[in-house]
């Protein structure tokens, strides 16, 4: 079994044997676009040229190109050689989920002061969204999130007990809860964010240092496991002057999202 290698053609990547060919090709092509080796707006080598360069058949090459095309890094069509296009990448899951990762990604220093972390019985609304019986034990975490030491967002999270109990072993003032949960192999996989606007309630106003009734950007978030089991129900209220959300979409169906610091006018 397992004749150790073929070790002939294929000239560039082929570091180990592990990742499948079309993935290696995709990564290599993406590198070439991002590095400018394939300049933006200029046609990239044809499929047959790429086949020749890497010593493969058309299948893997087309699979890799299709991946990039789906991400919007390549355009082109029948008869026309594909053209490279640098695009603002969608914020990856972690950055979009984690305030800490987001703040760092825009070059700001995240901070937080924990208002409370408590084990209590689920409120009717949270219980319904989390799929729990009313009154089931949950862990609630309320934190004021800071951007360069300025209040930016008030976060109210409700975790199912199995996940929330991890928080008692962890000081929520020191860093990212999400990174800690992922380190503990919690299966955070899917999140649904619902965005609207609310008026600041007295408690919000006091912590965010605004007047009662001032508009806040609210993001309610339901985070679930890969099997669809709800793990967290959150209500984040942002100062509109500190953060905005963006959605970009095209007629072809590509969609990218991002969260950005509000640019001063």
């Amino acid at each position: 079994m397992r004749s150790p290698a073929v070790e002939c053609h294929s000239q560039l990547v082929k570091t180990s044997e592990d990742p499948p060919l079309h993935q290696r090709l995709g990564a290599e092509f993406q590198r070439r676009i991002e590095s400018g080796e394939w300049p933006e707006g200029r046609p990239v080598p044809s499929e047959s040229q790429l086949c020749a360069e890497f010593g493969t058949s058309r299948g893997p090459v087309r699979q890799a190109l299709a991946m990039l095309r789906h991400e919007g890094s390549l355009t082109g069509g029948r008869g026309k050689p594909p053209v490279a296009r640098r695009t603002a990448p969608s914020q990856p899951f972690g950055t979009f989920l984690s305030f800490t990762q987001w703040a760092r990604s825009i070059g700001r220093e995240p901070g937080q002061t924990t208002v409370e972390v408590a084990r209590r019985r689920a409120s009717p609304g949270a219980a319904a969204r989390l799929g729990l019986a009313e009154g089931a034990p949950v862990v609630e975490l309320v934190r004021l999130r800071l951007l360069d030491d300025v209040p930016a967002m008030l976060e109210r999270s409700t975790f199912v007990h199995e996940v929330g109990r991890i928080l008692f072993d962890f000081d929520p003032d020191t860093g990212s809860v999400y990174e800690e949960l992922l380190r503990r192999d919690v299966d955070l996989h899917h999140a649904r964010h619902t965005i609207d606007a609310v008026a600041a309630e007295p408690h919000d106003a006091e912590l965010l240092r605004v007047a009662v009734g001032d508009p806040l950007l609210r993001v309610r978030r339901l985070t679930t496991s890969s099997r669809g089991v709800p793990l967290e129900d959150a209500d984040d209220r942002y100062l509109p002057a500190m953060a905005t959300f963006t959605i970009e979409n095209t007629i072809e169906g590509r969609t990218v999202i991002g969260r950005y610091r509000t640019e001063e006018d």
Copy 2:
């Protein structure tokens, strides 16, 4: 030429000859998932069964399945037969862009009263976003949008003159501006939406029938052509009680977006 048909194998779809096979298969598979013919959570027929049913090779079948997998309607992996999963589909470009299409898609009757449509010189901000010289001629459209005859959103759009002049041939009270622009072959291709919250100004408050200072959900939109030329700069202000935006994302990078009517609590 054009030997009229082959009319042998392939039993179900095959209406005409126009759309390519893998697209027909993809549409058929999607229909089966949405109709419940392939129940959610249950494994769907194997690739070889599908090949036999439609009399094709594995290529098109796999291409169709890959499409659905990318949209999140199918899960599965090596060795495991794929499993159907109904998901809230991402709103297509048109529905996300057009208030009229959106309203119809949620079963409400859209309406509008045009506050003004005017040709004037671009304001500094709009000129900068549209890439025009300050003072260049533009067309401004202000409409109050209704959902079942109730005010829901105040729309302020600024169109570059070349696009905006179409509006003078068209009564914005009668229907969708976007559908009209698309009919006129305007190349609306890409849109960037920036979401935040603002307090209602006196003019907003009067038209939307709320108090001055009440929170509104603001969506600023820059629509561009497929070559990146800005065509429209808009500022939509929603009553938070009437609409919310949702973003769903997963750790694998899939993202879908939607705009929904706020559910009553």
